[in-house]
Symmetry: C2
Subunit: 333 residues, 2 copies
């Protein structure tokens, strides 16, 4: 590519950043898409965006499908906005890109029906690599932050490790459950229990809501007995908005606690550290995948030897890393 | 570490391989654990194991929680064994390591009640990195193969990308669904529809089983209209064993089709290729994480600059990759 082409391309993306910073929602959406697709120029755009971020507060919501998460997130966004903050939503769709569009469509329709047009909602699929998901989410948080959002709500079913990783790195993590999902508590014990800062029992008008809340409390008591922040359990009926004000209150309490204890700062330092490592790793992996005469070329000869058990894949990998080191050195990345 | 220590350590693991190859189930279990934990000597053990593999046939089963997958897998294993084959099961637990033990315990109890003690069942968590899951599963398949299993059944809820990746790389993929899970079909449309070689409507005695089967057929018709292998839809009642013989029949049909069309060979070549790349990538990532003065050390100074918006994380990542290249060159991996 000629240098002028590169310049033109970069300047197009950088212009989008300018428009976004000036408040264009259209530019905002376009920019997120370009960066999610890792279009050329993304890196330059992200670098520029970063200097306009102001540490937006990031709240993660996770819960099994059917817990009413989406409705709850929408209600929360409306309430946060009512309190004078600017808010964006990132909905991570656990399935493939196919549903991404429809899902977003539904959400947008839902939101516009409540006339809250300035709550920005973005749906993200888990396309691409898994590292990709957390990297893309982190980038989107930064863009929304630079756009002026005070709060970013990230919603995910949290079923895969990648999603749990994303949710873990939020400032406040809200775990949503509902009565009657059977082994709900089992799942919680296993994976999400330890990441929840606040627990929500949604659909609290259903039978067994109190028992579920009691079960969670017992478990929290065992796990958090002597800690400073004991996760509160909030009962909500998202469809009616019941309990949402209390939930926001507790999120603000948690934020207060994190700030006063110095934990917010250390959390964010850790997050940046992990993010840097993530970016570096993904860059190196890209490099491996793209290197012309390096790792990406597993020769037919080599494959044949392996199929015939004349060589094993582990030795083959070692040889490839050897080649890669050479390519790596020559190209200086 | 002294060379003699390394030799001792390696020879311990290599002795386990010998015992496993001679038929010790105890050594088999120990070996899988050591390799899953990436204990020193694992690599040497895996290299040795590989030369004893005989291309065991790998069947993947995926379906939402509550579809009766585990029961179905057990019934399938018993039937495959009845037909004179040796069979192993790998159950990938979608949640954290915590449930691993209990789950395995339940399964072992369940199986021993049917007196099929020689069906080996192994439960794996998604601990560690995600690359880790597919690498650990691939290793376990090889060990079971070398142990003499003709069939390896891999069972997973398939909710995360890592699990889908694992299932994708099996020889035959069975997608299990049940009537009455509501948005079951929606989920299927999104992610698993395209990876299924065989579809199972389990709990076929429930209402709406026929409608579900019809829905799947319609979708398959649209997707597979002109392809050579049109995924069959099998109705089963796993708890009673109904339909299991037909299911195994169709798996053997699919295997036949893959062999005759040459697809089995190309599938496996692709699998080995991906596996080599996976091993190489994970090795390089380990290297990054462990390099003493390399990428793992994000200096406080650097972090502070980033927190103050004097530098951005992307530039920081580039600098770290620079350092890493140096370390990489010096150490020759």
């Amino acid at each position: 590519m000629h240098l002028t082409e590169k310049n033109q391309r970069d300047s197009f993306v950088l212009e989008l950043v300018d428009k976004m910073l000036k408040g264009s929602v259209r530019a905002l959406g376009k920019l997120i898409t370009l960066i999610e697709d890792e279009c050329p120029g993304s890196l330059e755009a992200l670098k520029k965006v970063y200097y306009h971020t102001k540490d937006a507060y990031v709240v993660g919501l996770t819960g099994a499908p059917g817990t009413g998460k989406s409705t709850l997130v929408d209600r929360m966004a409306v309430e946060i906005k009512r309190q004078g903050f600017k808010v964006g939503i990132i909905a991570i769709d656990p399935s493939s890109p196919f549903t991404g569009g429809a899902f977003l469509g539904d959400r947008v329709r839902m939101m516009s029906s409540s006339n809250e047009n300035d709550i920005y909602i973005r749906s993200m699929g888990t396309r691409g690599s898994l590292g990709g998901l957390s990297e893309a989410t982190a980038s989107t948080v930064k863009i929304l932050d630079a756009f002026g959002k005070d709060f970013v709500l990230i919603e995910t079913a949290g079923t895969g490790q990648a999603e749990v990783d994303v949710i873990k790195e939020t400032d406040t993590t809200v775990v949503v459950c509902v009565p009657g999902l059977g082994d709900e508590i089992q799942t919680m014990k296993a994976g999400v229990m330890e990441i929840g800062d606040i627990f929500v029992v949604n659909k609290a008008d259903l039978q067994d809501a109190d028992r579920l809340a009691g079960d969670i409390e017992t478990m929290l008591h065992m796990a958090y007995g002597s800690k400073e922040w004991i996760p509160p359990i909030i009962k909500t009926i998202a469809t009616e908005g019941t309990g949402v004000v209390t939930l926001i209150e507790e999120i603000l309490n948690h934020r207060e606690y994190l700030i006063k204890s110095g934990l917010l700062k250390s959390k964010r330092i850790r997050r940046i550290k992990q993010e840097i490592m993530e970016i570096a790793k993904n860059k190196i992996i890209d490099k491996i995948n793209n290197s012309a005469n390096g790792a990406n070329q597993v020769s037919d000869e080599l494959l044949n030897e392996i199929m015939l058990r004349e060589k094993d894949p582990y030795t083959a990998a070692e040889e490839i890393i050897g080649n890669f080191t050479e390519v790596f050195q020559k190209s200086h990345l």
